[in-house]
Amino acid sequence: MKTATESSVANDGHKDWIPLLDLATREVFQMMLGSQLKTSETTADIGLDITSMVGLAGQLCGMLSLRCTQKLAALMASKMLGTDPGTIGPEIADACGEICNMVAGNFKNKISGLNDGCMLSVPTVVTGSDYQMRSLSDYPALEVRLELEEMPIVVSLEIHS
């Protein structure tokens, strides 16, 4: 396992963290939703109208985001609560924020030397897709594209330092 410092020295934009981001996401869905994610082949971002974000500060600064459709967000919330997707209401944002928070926490736990030096913000959830996000990122975002029941999930990590 590489440490955060070793990866910084590599100066490769932390591309070696992509498999860890992928694994961290799959583990959260498997453990907390009982769902197996598949790798997505699509690169289209159409209809991803729920965005959950968690900030990282400290040794690693940046933002981890998780985007999906409203329909998938409702499915995720229903799986977490063990209820019917049709009965889910305001819990959707709470559920998406928690999933994003757990992915961020699980990801940083996988990087040796990073865990003690990196804090997570409380999650923020944005509804809608007609917006642009500008981040002071030093590298291209690390991105993992997965899907649950053929609906896409895009997990991105923007690193500031």
Binding site: M80, L81, D94, A95, G97, A104, N115, D116
Partner: protein, 128 residues
């Protein structure tokens, strides 16, 4: 094991439900479940109610889980009540801080049912 009165403390209502469901699925009979959205609310619940175990997040608004543990000793009803932290914060410093403050166990989110059984059942078995 007797039925258990549990207090679940997390600022996410979804996560509180997940923890409750996980306790059930782990085979823990719940007589009563109290919920609180932060440490201050949890202290208020404990002023009025006796519980057998507290499952508590760390990162919460108003009063976080670590401060909650520190103030727990001042609540007469809560003396000796075991606290298990359930949190995404898995850093060594957080674990050490929580355990040295009096937490009896520490579970990282995401968690498995097996982890709930391993960390919670022995604590309850010593109690009930």
């Amino acid at each position: 094991m007797n039925s258990v009165r549990a207090l679940i403390v997390d600022d996410s209502s979804v996560m509180r439900k997940i923890v409750e469901r996980s306790l059930n699925q782990a085979g823990i009979k719940l007589a009563k479940v109290f919920e609180a959205g932060n440490g201050a609310e949890a202290l208020a619940v404990l002023q009025e109610n006796k519980v057998d175990i507290v499952l508590c997040d760390i990162n919460m608004p108003v009063m976080d889980g670590l401060e909650f543990i520190k103030q727990l000793a001042s609540v007469e009803n809560a003396k000796g009540v075991p606290v298990v932290m359930i949190t995404t914060e898995g850093s060594e410093s957080h674990v050490v801080q929580a355990l040295s403050s009096g937490a009896r166990g520490y579970i990282r989110k995401p968690f498995t049912l097996e982890q709930i059984r391993e960390r919670v059942l022995p604590i309850l078995a010593g109690q009930t």
